[in-house]
Symmetry: C2
């Protein structure tokens, strides 16, 4: 294993890029320091010269892909700007499916993340939102501001459609769940068949919130005097 045999020397960036690529392909559960090292043709401990530990690796990966989101693009009014931004984030999340779980467990806010939030908050404040309202609005958007929601029925590997007997049992045991599941968003609500259009659901909730926010802003909302 010559250190510079044609694979060149490692550096932090190459490590992170490889980690992202590997995780994009094999999933978050698959990545480990040892496997990443193997991928790079290097002994596990070599990675520790570029990354403090595994947590720091994940931090770096998140940071790296978050830069794919460029600076925020003004779309005229605050509503469209925010909406577009959040949907762009959502698209990023779709490209890197491991990102959600990583963001959820990050404990330190990196400059990149703070930057992202700052730019989003700026939109509200520039549009004349009071600081208090902005505060609550950001909380209300919650993880949606990162482009994701924890869905109720998230199913990474969707189950096969139930057999008629199973269905019979289910609709007797959980009639309401079945009735609700039987509705498909943009198709004519036949049977379960993929259930629902995630994109539609996301925008539905997002718009519900944005509409509510609009009203509060227009009415010069102020926090209740407790």
């Amino acid at each position: 294993m010559p250190p510079t045999a044609e694979r060149g020397r490692l550096n932090r960036e190459r490590v992170l890029t490889a980690a992202v690529a590997y995780t994009d392909e094999h999933g978050l559960d698959a990545i480990s320091m040892r496997r990443l090292a193997a991928e790079l043709g290097v002994v596990p401990m070599a990675l520790y010269k570029h990354v403090a530990d595994k947590e720091a690796l994940l931090d770096g990966m998140a940071d790296l892909v978050l830069t794919e989101l460029g600076p925020i693009a003004d779309a005229g009014d605050w509503r469209s700007t925010v909406r577009a931004r959040i949907l762009a984030a959502r698209e990023l999340l779709a490209r890197h499916r491991w990102l959600r779980r990583v963001l959820e467990t990050r404990v330190q806010q990196t400059p990149t993340m703070l930057n992202y939030l700052d730019s989003l908050i700026a939109v509200f404040r520039r549009a004349g939102f009071s600081d208090v309202l902005t505060h609550h609005v950001m909380h209300a958007l919650g993880s949606r501001a990162w482009g994701f929601t924890q869905e109720l029925f998230d199913d990474p590997n969707p189950a096969p459609p139930p057999t008629p007997e199973q269905l019979a049992f289910l609709s007797q045991a959980f009639p309401n769940v079945v009735a609700m599941a039987a509705v498909a968003a943009h198709s004519d609500g036949s049977v379960i068949e993929r259930g629902c259009d995630d994109q539609f659901e996301f925008e539905f909730a997002l718009d519900l919130l944005l509409d509510g926010i609009s009203v509060l802003q227009a009415a010069q909302w102020e926090p209740p005097r407790n």
Copy 2:
């Protein structure tokens, strides 16, 4: 190690109860098959007679604590009923702080979880919500229906308040984040000091959604013909 030395025999329930207790006290990262076994005065492999594997253990734990939520209590109108239910769930999540992360990674819906969802959905349907609307509404509530939101600034171990120099740097680098963070919900927005009232934020967003939902329901909302 006599098998029945005064600690009695194990069974699935005792295993799960012990697991919940241990995790309540030491946190989700602390629990492992080996430590749980030690806690029960038993060799690690003994647990596998009561639980298929660690995932199943977590399933069982989630299931167990979810039963703490009794049957749904009718509060008159759908809005109050749903609201009370969700706030009760939130309280449960506060009692078992590990539960959020566990629910988020569950892959199989257990009967208990389906039951919970079913009862919630039932409220909407009984109130005359169409199935489509109910469907979207449940998605919109998303993880809030489980009593939690992934907050933007969740900080399990909150950082010490920044020193004046740090603050100066931060407010120059991320002016909007700092401005927003400086607002405290139910106090007269002074300085950062604990930032915000999580309960208020949760209800704020929940009510925003419930209000939006009310409007849709009153207007007999129908999905857009694409």
